[in-house]
């Protein structure tokens, strides 16, 4: 079944033939984070794909993955392009290195999961929170509920751990 919903005024759709994304967002709707694990080489991958980018095997299974990691890099948007984000600047686009499978298959790789910086309840973060986050900040995954059956993975500051001093663009 296709997934549909309205997020910040944007129409989001996942077609029913897009079975990998339907499965991925199906877990997200339950506020579970799952990724595909290759049946052949065992490596996880992100985002969902038809075949394994590491060994080209077609078969995979979904496994629960802990939504914790550190900011690998970010963009801080001050001039929004999409109407949906015009009222939310500045907002952060994050690439987060998951702790799971970090440094594999080579030291240059990690599962780098995208998302925005959000409050713990999945709302886009206010400016004072945006100003605290940079490369190295420890984050935990939260979800933005879009519609019944459709939620998006997002990130918030992990308040349960000691935070390293983040690297931020020099102001």
């Amino acid at each position: 079944m296709a997934l549909q919903g309205d997020y910040l005024g944007m129409a989001l759709t996942v077609d029913e033939l897009d079975i990998e994304n339907v499965a991925y967002f199906g877990y997200c709707a339950k506020h579970d984070f799952h990724l595909q694990a290759c049946d052949s080489c065992k490596l996880l991958r992100y985002p969902p794909t038809t075949a394994c980018p590491w060994c080209a095997a077609l078969d995979s299974h979904w496994v629960a993955v802990e939504g914790k990691g550190a900011v690998h890099s970010y963009a801080e948007v001050h001039h929004a392009i999409q109407p949906a984000f015009k009222g939310h600047t500045p907002y952060l686009i994050l690439l987060v290195d998951l702790d799971t499978q970090n440094g594999a298959p080579t030291p240059d790789e990690a599962l780098r999961v995208a998302g925005n910086l959000c409050t713990p309840d999945g709302q886009l973060a206010p400016p004072e929170m945006v100003a605290k986050v940079g490369i190295g900040t420890r984050l935990r995954m939260v979800f933005s509920d879009v519609a019944n059956g459709l939620s998006m993975p997002q990130w918030t500051i992990d308040e349960t751990v000691a935070q390293p001093a983040p690297w931020r663009y020099p102001d």
Binding site: T13, F25, P83, A84, Y91, I93, L95, A114, N116, Y169
Partner: protein, 419 residues
Amino acid sequence: MAESDIDAGTPKHLADKYAVVGVGETAFMRGNGSGRSTRALGTQAVRAAILDAGLTPADIDGMLSYSNNDSTFAPMIAGDLGIRLNFYMDVYGGGSSTEALVGIAIGVIEAGLCKTVAIFRSMNGFSQVRIGGTGARSAVPVNGDMLHNRAYGWQSAGQSFAPSFMRHMYVYGTRPEQVAMVKVIHSEHASNNPKALYKKRVTVDDVLSSRFIVKPLHLLDCCVETDNACAIIVTRANRARDLRHHPVLIRSVVGRCCKPRADMHFQHGPIERVAGYYGRDILWPNAGVGPEDIDVTGSYDAFTFTTMLQLEDYGFCKKGEGGEYVSDGTMRLGGKRPNNTSGGHLCEGYTHGIAMVIENVRQLRHDIDDSCPLGPDGKRQHTYDYREGGCRQIKDVELSANLGWAMPGTGSAMVMRRA
């Protein structure tokens, strides 16, 4: 000639067998826009390139174009000019297309499909389909795989590339004032380019005090969307010798070379690495020269950072030393290896890369279109005085490199040589 030119172990696929024989463009327009269709603009640019070559429309039998479905297809332009085509193809794509299409042109001529190919890009990139992604492009439906990017407000070119730029600053200590020098130097070059849209010279302070678009990019780190069309003509080098201009030969081409995971390159390798890391192993061996031999570069400046990252990964400096390379004067007219002498996309106008090829063709002809006085032969008498409003011809330039950019994960490149 370099040692590697006579080294039989060095591949040199079709080097010097093909040439760019004609170049042409419309004005670069903003304000009220071009007021014309992409068909009209494209027709003008292709016609200008044919005339520049000293050819007639009947000599053109191949045509290639690229667009983001925001342009007019080749058969329309050919029809307008009375050209009967033996081959054409309109491909999807933006930056990194020009050099790739030159490679395709060489291939199809070599395979006997046609003899002479016109390549064009025509766009109302300011007045119709904004290249920066604003307007109609910003509100397209978000489907399927786009939920992993556009749904996060991660859509425009600047937004998409910014994590690579930011990570480069973090890893290598690259400073904003170093990168801003790309804009400063290109603005100096544009001040000597009568057709550049932004001719005013700017300072590092001007760049750093302009408003943020998406950190680390200020407004002046971003290129200028324009309405325009540009065209080039590619044919065999033996044909080029009978034509109007001094031949400019193609030594090697890299076409849309990709990092692994072209679907989402951030998943593989260092994210501050760009496709040139792979492209350089095609570009230099096939050219039979190396970066140290190159006199002028055209490193794609959709943003100040893109110029820097490509120069690094194609080997013009060590990885991580790009901040120094782009700010130490090397890239300036009068410097060791000027970059984007037209002012590039940051100042002349945004063309998805083709105008940077045109600029280097004119440099290699020793016939750049600056404000130097015309001599009795109709060619400019270059002064090599690079002060504002002056010359922008590089003295005795022999070899150029164009480094085209689609995104960090995909790029094209080309080495050209004065015959």
